[in-house]
């Protein structure tokens, strides 16, 4: 079930009404309802993988209890590694087996040997990368004694499977979400209204901006050999806009939906394209994943302590793993490596934490220097996105070499004025809302209510009127 479908528009109010009107007096009933709704939500996509989700949930629940219960470090380590290996094992089989098998065979063929490991004809269970990381963070936190294990299986299952975050995040932490699930939730009018507003903005980003930009990005990337360098640049820009609006739009809908149920999820995006350097970009893009890697991989590896080579190694590990998390393709690995290369100079010069505040805070416009820095960062990001979007490395390289040809200085053959105008309006709204949780959070707060409602009606009309051809959420495939 997708967020931008009629099915979800029917599903959400039903769960909402049952949640607040029939189960509101009993926390356990509320959690059971959320779990049933979440499993139903997941089963609508493919019920066959529901067992995998339940098994993965049970595995982490049980190993969590065991890690806490056993006393020796050796035994704790045993249960921890059992959980890690099982979780990563599932991920490896479903997501990475074919990649490793074909890469291994290709590698051997380079030295004249033949290997036929065979490939698996399996589809990737939706959300597996996300719920696996939920579970891993839980057992790792127990192992590190940051939290105590949950005794109630229902509560733990809701933490893993809560439907707004189940298939594409944000990747939650037990320390943040579990206490909210264990505590009685009461209805908060202003939070619910805020949730609806964030859902509306998320739908606008996804349906109007991302889906329209996707049509042109797909057209240009799928026929890149036919277009001029300038058109290919436009294609890369369209993809940069598409992936941001698609994923942050999804996150907005997820956060807004959770808020309707009295639950606050982790913020996932903070206007990343207004970043002044790559370090800032990574503090603002897919925040829940970046912080997960920071806490459970980068810091345990030693972080930015130690010598230069140590720092370089850790930086590359975290970005390569992050790239690999997105998919079993060399394009994602190169995308990760590129970002590591962008990031390293800042780390080595100790300038990776210079831009911690929002750009041009309290001002209408950035300074020229800030503008130039934002443009450079955006340009580097767009360049890396070419690898992310390309079908394979050859495609990415030919795409880039075609950009840097004489046709770069011609007028693009594709120039959809309406969608470009919509994107410009969208960027302006995002700019003026960049100090909020989401762009329209505070817009119109002090306006006369009917005028504010006109703004919301305008967004609803735009969603229907300018809706692009429906596209799958990009992050569902990860």
């Amino acid at each position: 079930m997708l967020f931008n479908t009629i099915d979800f528009a029917i599903f959400l109010p039903i769960v909402f009404i049952l949640y607040w009107f029939t189960t509101n007096k009993n926390l356990r009933f509320q959690n059971i309802l959320l779990l049933v709704a979440s499993y139903f939500f997941y089963a609508c996509w493919d019920y066959r993988f529901l067992f995998l989700l339940v098994f993965s949930t049970f595995l982490d629940y049980y190993t969590g209890l065991k890690i806490h219960k056993v006393e020796t470090k050796k035994k704790k380590l045993f249960w921890l590694w059992l959980s890690i290996s099982m979780n990563l094992g599932f991920l490896g089989v479903f997501k990475y087996y074919n990649f490793f098998a074909s890469s291994f065979a290709n590698g051997l063929s380079l030295i004249g040997l033949k290997a036929n490991l065979g490939t698996l004809n399996v589809i990737l269970p939706v959300g597996i990368s996300f719920y696996t990381f939920h579970g891993l963070s839980y057992v790792l936190d127990i192992y590190k004694s940051r939290i105590k294990p949950v005794k109630d299986f229902i509560e733990y299952s809701v933490f893993v499977s809560f439907f707004p975050l189940l298939v594409a995040g944000p990747i939650e932490r037990a320390t943040h979400l579990l206490p909210q699930i264990q505590k009685k939730r009461s209805f908060d009018y202003s939070k619910a209204v805020d949730g609806l507003r964030q859902i509306l903005w998320g739908l606008f980003k996804k349906v109007v901006i991302a889906d329209n930009a996707a049509e042109y990005a797909n057209m240009i990337f799928n026929n890149s050999g036919d277009y001029s360098g300038s058109t290919l640049v436009l294609g890369a820009l369209f993809f940069a806009i598409q992936i941001y609006c698609d994923f942050s739009g999804y996150s907005d809908i997820a956060l807004g939906t959770a808020r309707l149920f009295g639950i606050e999820l982790l913020k996932n995006f903070a206007f990343p394209y207004f970043s002044r350097d790559i370090a800032e970009f990574w503090r603002r893009w897919h925040i829940s994943l970046s912080s997960w890697f920071r806490d459970y991989l980068y810091i345990p590896l030693g972080g930015s302590k130690g010598g230069i080579w140590f720092k370089i190694r850790n930086t590359f590990i975290i970005f390569l793993v992050s790239g690999f998390w997105h998919g079993a393709n060399w394009t994602f690995i190169v995308w990760g490596a590129l970002n590591a290369i962008y990031f390293l100079p800042l780390l080595l010069l100790k300038k990776n934490r210079t831009n911690l505040e929002t750009v041009a805070q309290g001002k209408y416009l950035p300074t020229i220097r800030e503008f130039i820095n934002m443009s450079i960062t955006f340009g580097l990001t767009v360049f890396a996105w070419i690898f992310f979007r390309a079908n394979n490395l050859e495609h990415a390289i030919s795409y880039i070499s075609q950009i840097f040809s004489s046709s770069l200085f011609t007028i693009p053959t594709i120039f959809p004025k309406t969608i470009i105008l919509l994107i410009i309006v969208f960027i302006i709204i995002e700019w003026f809302g960049r100090e909020q949780k989401y762009a329209i959070e505070k817009i119109g707060h002090k306006w006369y209510k009917p005028i504010r409602w006109v703004l919301y009606y305008g967004i609803v009309i735009a969603i229907f009127y300018f809706a692009g051809k429906e596209q799958q959420f990009i992050y569902f495939q990860f």
Partner: protein, 332 residues
């Protein structure tokens, strides 16, 4: 909680009430919306682009219809075939329907017009074709049909219906406005005919799915306006005939085998409207001469096909007309 539900209901009830009121209003006004007077105001503006026709003082033959006529016949060739005793004028346009054609015809000077030939393509008489037409025609759909159509073809259908309703309301005290002095119009090179260079892109669906009669039905308006064109020409003592622009053999074969029910309904609807005219031509007119070199795609002739078909058309126009009836054979 109550406040939230109340506000939510209020928020959604305003557009829903507006929507219900608008749709009810459209339903109650439907007869007047499609009255000749209103339709004239909405559709006649196009006539100002054709004032060049009035400057031709020779005996004229008008060719009407949609793209298959526009690209299918060359007026210059037809004029030559008549030894320049006649001037053929092509008033067909991409996706042009009988409604627009009628209001075009009633606003040009028909003195010296000897005959009018109208090319008929069945799919133009369907409601599913409305997406290519003036959005005012969306008011001809019921609420349920509009909902289905909106989901499948045009998400903005309800906004277009409201916009059309506003056009209707604003037109209440107007009369049709045609700028007869609009620039000084040159007579086009081939009297309105055009050689098709590019490939039209809106003909990709399988033929039998193209009509979507089960979902959206036929457009009664289109049938009635074709009959009106016929009546109007007769009242002006102008010969009126319909003809069948040729289709590529694979298309006509599929149409014949898969769309016979649709075809029968189409002809029956024309009969119901008492269409009183002559008819000539066949759907598979060019089959026997290896038609694949003559078409751009299944529906439209290329320059070569235009020349070949113009000669055949001229011959048929002189010799092969029959009275329109249920028994007319559409295929060779």
């Amino acid at each position: 909680m109550k406040k939230f539900i109340y506000k939510l209901i209020l928020f959604f009830s305003i557009p829903i009430l507006f929507f219900v009121f608008t749709e009810g209003y459209i339903f109650s006004l439907k007869k007047d919306i499609f009255s000749d007077k209103k339709m004239d105001i909405i559709f006649s503006g196009i006539a100002s682009n054709y004032q060049w026709v009035n400057t031709i003082e020779h005996k004229k033959i008008l060719l009407l219809g949609s793209s298959s006529v526009r690209y299918g016949l060359s007026c210059t060739l037809l004029n030559k075939l008549s030894n320049d005793s006649l001037v053929f004028v092509n008033l067909a346009m991409d996706a042009r329907d009988p409604i627009e054609t009628y209001f075009l015809l009633t606003h040009i000077n028909l003195t010296n017009v000897k005959a009018v030939y109208f090319g008929i393509d069945p799919w133009i008489y369907t409601k599913s074709y409305y997406k290519y037409r003036n959005s005012y025609l969306y008011l001809d759909m019921s609420l349920i049909t509009s909902l289905k159509y909106g989901l499948e073809h045009d998400k903005s259908i309800f906004f277009k219906r409201i916009k059309s309703l506003i056009r209707y309301l604003l037109s209440s005290n107007k009369i049709s406005q045609i700028d007869f002095n609009k620039n000084k119009q040159e007579i086009p090179a081939d009297y309105g005919s055009v050689k098709l260079e590019g490939k039209p892109t809106n003909f990709n669906d399988p033929i039998n799915e193209y009509f979507q009669i089960d979902k959206y039905g036929w457009s009664e308006l289109q049938f009635s306006y074709l009959a009106k064109i016929s009546t109007f020409c007769i009242s002006k003592n102008i010969e009126f005939s319909v003809f069948l622009p040729p289709k590529r053999s694979d298309y006509s074969a599929t149409y014949k085998s898969k769309c016979n029910l649709i075809h029968n309904e189409f002809v029956t609807n024309l009969i119901k409207e008492n269409l009183n005219c002559q008819i000539f031509g066949k759907f598979n007119q060019l089959d026997t001469i290896g038609d694949y070199n003559l078409f751009r795609e299944a529906y439209h002739l290329n320059a070569n096909g235009q020349a070949v078909y113009s000669a055949i058309f001229y011959e048929m126009m002189l010799n092969k007309k029959e009275l329109f009836s249920l028994n007319y054979k559409w295929f060779n």
